[in-house]
Amino acid sequence: MKTAAAIEVRDLRKTYQVRDGGSWRGKTREITALDGISFTVPAGEIAGFIGPNGAGKSTAIKILSGILRPTSGTVRVGDLVPWENRIAHVARIGVVFGQRTQLWWDLSVAEGLALLRDIYSVEPERFRRNRDRLAEALDLNGIMDQSVRQLSLGQRMRAEIAAALIHDPDVVILDEPTIGLDAPSKLAVRAFVRDLRRERGTTVLLTTHDMHDIEALADRVIVIGHGRILADSPFEALQATTLSERILEADFTGPPPDLFLPDGAVETERGTRCVTITFDPQRLPAPALVAHLSKLPGLGDLRIGRPAIEEIITRFYADHAS
């Protein structure tokens, strides 16, 4: 039956050889994509893997999928080393690359799933059960007979997720599964991933640029930047510190006046008619900040939002440098 699989990564390094100038005469140069990362994901946990573009997320995902061989370090998924037992390893994992399609453009969703049944040698009985369950949970019944090229992005992504799960993988790697989706489709994908873990105890590694995905799903968050792990903590811990921070943008009718901000808020940017303030709602609740600002002359519009992942990472660097 099912073996409890977990991901274990120890001191993983990967360097690429890059040729400058693109010609055969250019000098080769080494680029370090992963600079010794270590982490563990226990069976049945959903781990969020976040970081800016070029941080090494994709490289790590490719190594975990068995596509790429690292320069050094060890990885175990279940009891297998991905790049050494590629065929046995990939039979037990499911992968969705949000920006690429694994279904066949010329075939219908149903035909594609049947093809995957043969590729993964899923027994007919189990295949029928899984297909019906996935079609129900991902709302695919209406599009089973449509060819993949006719699907909308949201429909296609739901079909892609079904395709990655038709063989009951123990470990699922979702690389940007909600990219480009509209709000209802994002909610559907998140609900499905949550149920998957609850009902089957599937281990999930999720990369995303959408903090809402992380908030809705992740038990744990691993932050990666410049090929290193910057933080690895339970979601609540990260939320209490870094993710709790909010950004307020205030527009003024003229040049902004001096703000005299209370504790817990810092002015981070000043334009000709706009000021950006970063604040910690636990020290200074948003209504209090708004009340303070509304006393200022010439105040126009107010907008409150979260910092982008890129900014969070930037601050991680600052914290680590000091």
Partner: protein
Amino acid sequence: MTIRPYVTSFVLQWKIGLRYRLAVLAGLVAQMWFGAISLMAYAAVYHHAPDVNAPMTLRQAMTYTWIQQSFFTLLPLGCLPAIGEAAKSGAIVYDLLRPVDLWNWWLSASLARLLGNAVPRAILLAVVAGPLAALVGLNGWSLAPPASFEAALLAVVSFVLGAFISASIVMWWNIIAARTLSPLGTYAVGTPLAVLLSGMLLPLPLYPDWARELLLLQPFAGISDIPIRLYMGMPIPGGILAALGIQCFWLLALTVIGRFWMNRTVSRMEVQGA
């Protein structure tokens, strides 16, 4: 290890190939046209030099040409389009994520693509250039039947080996496409190479003496030249066993070296982007 995924891959590409029926018909017309022009050229050459002791009779040259034209799409003209596209877009990662032997997986797809294109054309062309041509009085220009029953059997075995050799060469193009992240180079180099060395442009038996035996020893001769010689019962240096031996040798060599090269490629592959 089960054979099921490879059969599935074969059936899929076969179906995709058959979806383009209009292309089959258009290709057929083009090949009939080129076939007819070559035949007229051979007829002119042979009639102006009746005393030369040619290595093939005019009738053999015509039959050779018809079969070559029917099997034009069996030649390894470049990589499998689906693999070339996947290499370019990066979707090739999904091929590496399948629990299958990648060589057999791509080979079965490549073979299906070649046969799916070639077999329907070959049957149509054989009917048109064979019995139909004979019926309308073009007997001298038609496709001759096999030299004997044994020759037909040998030719079938040899054609099957030829199809596998061709698919193995396509595999080499697939590897090159995966390495260069583009299918274009494989078509640019593969098409002229295959057309020239297979005997498609000029039958290999008609090359000058010094080149003839050398040409028989290269892998492209095993795709259609050797099977056609066996079909027509033409003498082959070294005999029938040598002919089949050359085919088996190339199939084995292309597979063993190709697999090694592919493993190296896959283990060093750096798929771009997220």
